[in-house]
């Protein structure tokens, strides 16, 4: 028997792997020390656990353990990387174009966009690259946006709504040629796909525990130490933990969990990925076969194994989610937001507003089964057909009326 509801929102967060929880437990009660306590066994035990985790994280990224800074997650990691690098590498004195130029993309996560926007208020300049219709940011696009005063490029590795993959290695190479610091928000990537920070030419990389079967409230920032040695202005002042990059008593339980999650992903990523690609492809192709006027958003193949983003024409996403309440997923519809604006990510790709309102993001994970995918295909097909029966836009489509030619009353 299928247990309901089924979880297809792994891009939002993942359950903790029980092996992760098991690794964490002793650090709540027995090994509870403060890693900063250098003079007794409690402190040493905590520090040992933390340093083991640092090694596990470094191994997953192809980094040195000294290059790992523990954070509370990707929002903090992005803030530290973007603001910290901008403040460190700013043009002094400021030139005509301000304190320096930052390149990012329109469809980045808010946790990268908003730090850049704050920096703009503080005298930096920025370019927000529009992705291609396939959702991808290429090295060519970044090259075209480069200026003499560019100090920082921040491009996510894989997009959280679409799952599409940007040309990170090539963008990193370009940045290194130009002597520009390169940050990537790899929150959706790490643990799912291989990373080699050297070959991938990355200076700063943000990731998070809870997207990879680790706990919430912990993450990491990779900070390159050689060729070049990257420096950051810290954003949290205090006890000087994490070599001064990030003050605050270490979240030892979280860090131990993050390390264990990294170790498991290192060992199981290939098998998980191969399985998830098959599930995703079946989900996408079955739904497209069952339902006309449905489209996969973003590049068909340059995307993560586990994230599908599909628009079903003439059906509104939130209404659709209500009809498939046994499937936990996300929609690009923003019907609950006061603005009524649909997903800015889909809009950046040039997906029409009505198709953006009609999108579902289904993201699968380590424990998603064939049976669950079959269930989702059947439920979604039924729900879309039912809602199309209700949809005046579907009628118009069937009558051959192009809804884009209609003068809709603005409201």
């Amino acid at each position: 028997m299928l247990k309901l509801p089924i979880y297809m929102d792994h891009a939002a967060t993942t359950p903790c792997d029980p092996r992760v929880v098991e690794a964490m437990l002793p650090y709540f009660t027995e090994k509870f020390g403060n890693a900063g306590s250098r003079n007794h066994r409690f402190g040493w035990e905590a520090e040992d656990g933390m340093e083991q985790a640092r090694e596990q994280c470094a191994k997953l990224l192809g980094a040195d353990s000294k290059e790992i800074v523990f954070t509370s997650g990707s929002t903090e990691g992005n803030n530290l990387a973007i603001k910290g690098a901008a403040e460190m590498y700013e043009k002094k004195p400021a030139g005509q174009t301000g304190r320096g130029h930052i390149i990012t993309a329109q469809h980045e996560h808010k946790a990268a966009l908003d730090p850049v926007k704050r920096l703009m208020k503080q005298g930096f300049d920025a370019t927000f690259i529009q992705p291609g219709q396939d959702g991808i940011i290429t090295a060519e696009m970044v090259k075209a946006a480069m200026r003499d005063d560019t100090i920082l490029v921040s491009i996510m590795w894989a997009n959280n709504e679409l799952g599409t993959i940007n040309e990170v290695r090539e963008i990193g190479r370009l940045c290194h040629e130009k002597g520009v610091i390169f940050h990537t928000d790899a929150t959706q990537w790490v643990g799912k796909m291989p990373v080699d920070v050297s070959k991938d030419n990355i200076d700063l990389l943000t990731w998070s525990g809870h997207k990879m079967y680790g706990p919430k409230g912990v993450g990491g920032l990779y900070v390159r130490r050689r060729n070049p040695r990257v420096r950051l202005v810290s954003q949290l002042d205090g006890g000087g933990q994490e070599r001064g990059f990030r003050s605050g008593t270490h979240n030892i339980t979280g860090i131990v969990g993050l390390g264990k999650a990294c170790e498991i992903c290192f060992n199981e990523m290939d098998a998980d990925g191969a399985r998830l690609v098959k599930l995703r492809k079946r989900l996408e192709s079955s739904l497209q076969k069952n339902l006309e006027v449905s489209q996969v958003n973003g590049h068909a193949d340059k995307r993560l194994p586990h994230i599908a983003n599909i628009s079903f024409g003439f059906v509104e996403g939130e209404g659709l989610m209500m009809a498939i309440k046994d499937i936990a997923c996300s929609s690009g519809s923003a019907c609950t937001s006061a603005s009524l604006e649909p997903s800015y990510v889909l809009k950046a790709l040039g997906v029409g507003d009505e198709l953006a309102h009609s999108s579902l993001r289904l993201s699968m994970g380590r424990w998603t089964t064939d049976e669950q995918v079959d269930f989702a295909i059947e439920k979604i097909t039924k729900a879309v057909n039912k809602l199309r029966e209700l949809s005046p836009l579907w009628d118009m489509h069937k009558e051959g009326i192009d809804i884009n030619t209609i003068q809709w009353a603005a409201h």
């Binding site: 609950t336 309102h357 209700l390 836009l393 009628d395 809709w408 409201h411």
Partner: protein
Amino acid sequence: MAYSDKVINHYENPRNVGNFGTTKDVKDRKDIGVGMVGAPECGDVMQLQIKVDQATGRIQDAKFKCFGCGSAIASSSLATEWIKGRTVDEALQIKNTDIVQELSLPPVKIHCSVLAEDSIRAAISDYKKKNGLAAETHAAAETH
């Protein structure tokens, strides 16, 4: 956000779904008024058709179709229930706040009720126009 039981009930068993013919079919039928409000890019479109007894001005039947979230579907479903059997002038008395109250809509969903009220007004206005009746003078629905 949890939906109220009444929203779920209307969403799962929408009343009076359908139409009395395509837009083209009903264009010249004087007993039918059509209202189409909203816009696809805003995420909701409602179509309301009313069938009026021309002698009495009473709404004999009403049909709707809706592209939108659960609250939008429930609001338009409820609107059809409420206007059936009323005269067109009585139907114009229905306010979006009545719908909000009946369905316990939260603030972010108030626009769904406004749209439902707009669809009633638009359908009645279409009916009156077709029959050469004085267009009602009502304050424009509040912008949203």
